[in-house]
Symmetry: C2
Subunit: 328 residues, 2 copies
Amino acid sequence: MSIKIGILGYGNLGKGVECGIRQNPDMELAAVFTRRDPSGVSILTEGVPVCRIDDAEQWADKIDVMILCGGSATDLPEQTPKFARMFNVIDSFDTHARIPEHFANVDAAAKEGGKVGIISVGWDPGMFSLNRLYANAILPDGKDYTFWGKGVSQGHSDAVRRIEGVKDAKQYTIPVEAALEAVRNGENPELTTRQKHTRECFVVLEEGADAAKVEKEIKEMPNYFSDYDTTVHFISEEELRRDHSGIPHGGFVLRSGKTGLNGENSHLIEYSLKLDSNPEFTSSVLLAYARAAYRLSQEGQSGCKTVFDIAPAYLISKSGEEIRKTML
Amino acid sequence: MSIKIGILGYGNLGKGVECGIRQNPDMELAAVFTRRDPSGVSILTEGVPVCRIDDAEQWADKIDVMILCGGSATDLPEQTPKFARMFNVIDSFDTHARIPEHFANVDAAAKEGGKVGIISVGWDPGMFSLNRLYANAILPDGKDYTFWGKGVSQGHSDAVRRIEGVKDAKQYTIPVEAALEAVRNGENPELTTRQKHTRECFVVLEEGADAAKVEKEIKEMPNYFSDYDTTVHFISEEELRRDHSGIPHGGFVLRSGKTGLNGENSHLIEYSLKLDSNPEFTSSVLLAYARAAYRLSQEGQSGCKTVFDIAPAYLISKSGEEIRKTML
C-alpha cells in the first residue's frame, strides 16, 4: 500500500514533486490541486485528476500527505494552517524571520485536526538547518558560516527585471572562494556581506535602453546589490535563453570548532550542495519528509514539526534493520 | 540540574569525553571507571573520583549516562550490553559488520533494565552514516561514495609496527584527489580500492634493520597494503615524535543523484570532516548523543537506538523554540 500524495500548487516545485514521486516506489500521486482552471492545466502523470483547490476538502480521506507548493510570501502563511486541519501537510516555508509565527499557526491547526504538519522543509531552511544544528551540538565551541551559490536568486532576478529598460534578467549569487578558503583553514574570519558573496547579472535590454544607466541602477540598488560587488553583463535574449535558462543553486554550511583541554585541536565540518535544479532538489526533500509525516501520523502523532523533530530513519523507505546493516 | 556523565575506560577517547564535558554547561563528570588500579590513574578534572569498573554497579542511581570508551574488538561487545542493564549507555562500536548482532544484544539488555542505549556513535559510524541516510532518502536515484582521510589509521600503523625491524610507525590513509574530483563532477565513476585511497607510512627502523626488506613487506601485506599504492618513508624517532604525534582524521561522504522527468538534472551532496583529533571529535559526538539518551530516558523510552533513531533536536541544549528561531 503506497503513500498517496496530493500536490497543491503546480509551478516548478509542484512539477518537481510530481517527477520525484516516480523515484519513490512507495508513493503515488493522488491528485493535483490548482488555483487555475483545471481544464487548462496538463500534468505529466497519466490518469491523475487535476482539481480546484476549493475542492480539496473532498479529498480528505483519499490523500495521506498534501504537499503545499505555493510561495512563502502570501500562499503558505494562509494555506498551511488551513490544510493542516484536514491533511497531513508539508511545506517549504522559507521566510526565516516568520518561522516562529508560522509554526504556531500550523501547530494549532494540525492539533485541532489530529494531523501532522512539517514546515520549512527543503535545503535552506531544511538540510542546511540540520547541518547547523548537528555541527553546533557536536562542537559547542565554534563558529558557523553559511555561503550560498553559485545559484540563481529569484528575488534578485525579479528586482533587476523591474528596472526601466530591462527586458529580462538573471542574477547569480556567488560565494567568494577566498572567504571559503579562510574558513576551511580554520582562520575563523569575521566576514562582511561584501566579503562573502558577489553578484553577477545577465541582462537583456529593451531596444534603445541606456546600458550605463541600467548598470548604475542595479549596482546601487539598496538591500539587493549596494552591499555587494556586482558584475553586470548585457547579453541578447537568445543568449539568455540558451545559457541561463536553468535554476541551479547550492551552497556551503561550515562550522569550525575547537576541542581539547585548552582548545588545542581544531575541527572543520562542511556540508555542501551543488544543484542543477533548485526546485527539483527541494521537491525531493519534501517527499522524504512526506514519508515521515505519513509514518508519524500512523503512529498517532499530531501537531507541527520541523526537520529538527524528525528522526532520520523516518525519511527512508527501508526498515531499521536494513539501514543499520547497509548504511550505519 | 546537569546531566551526570560517567566515563568507562580512560584512554584517548575517555580523556576526550572528559575535556568535552567542560564545553557543555548542562553536563558534569560524575566518575571515571577504569580496569587499572584507580590509585595509579590521574584525571584532568579535580574532585571527581576514579573507580574500579567492578564498582560501577554502585553508581547506578548517581549517573545519568555512562559513556563506554573501550575498544570495539573485545571491550564493547561485552560491556555495552552488560552496562545497558544498569545505565543509559552510549558507545562508539565501529565494527560495521557486527552492528546488527551488537544492536540485538544491547536492545535486549537495555529493555530489561528500562534503559536507553545508543550504539555506534561517532563519525563513521555516526555522522557519516547519517549523511548517507539523508542523502539516500533525498536522492533515491544516485550513487554513494565515502572517502577517508587524510588521517591516521591505528590498525594500519599497528600492522606496520608488527613487522620485524620496525621500531615505530605511523600510517596515513589519503583520499585520491582525482577520484574525489570525478565524483564531484558527476561522472559517477566506478572506483577500485586502489583508485580511491593511497597509503603513506612513516617508519622508524630498529638499528641494523634492512630498509628494503621492511618496505617490501609493508607494500605486499595482504588486506592492509597490497591493494593500495603505498609510499614508505624512513625517518628518525625524533622526526616521528615531532611531526607525526597527532591523531588527525576526516573524510568525505558524497552522493550524486538525478532528478527530473528523465533524470536530466544532477545534484551533488557532500559532507566532509577535517579533524585534528579523531578521538576528541568522536568524544564530542558521544556527548551530544549522551544528552539525547538522557532526554529519551526521561521520556520513559528504553532499548537500543542508533543515530538514525534520534531526532536532531534531542542533541542540543536549547529549546525547540530557540533552535527554530536561530538555526532553522
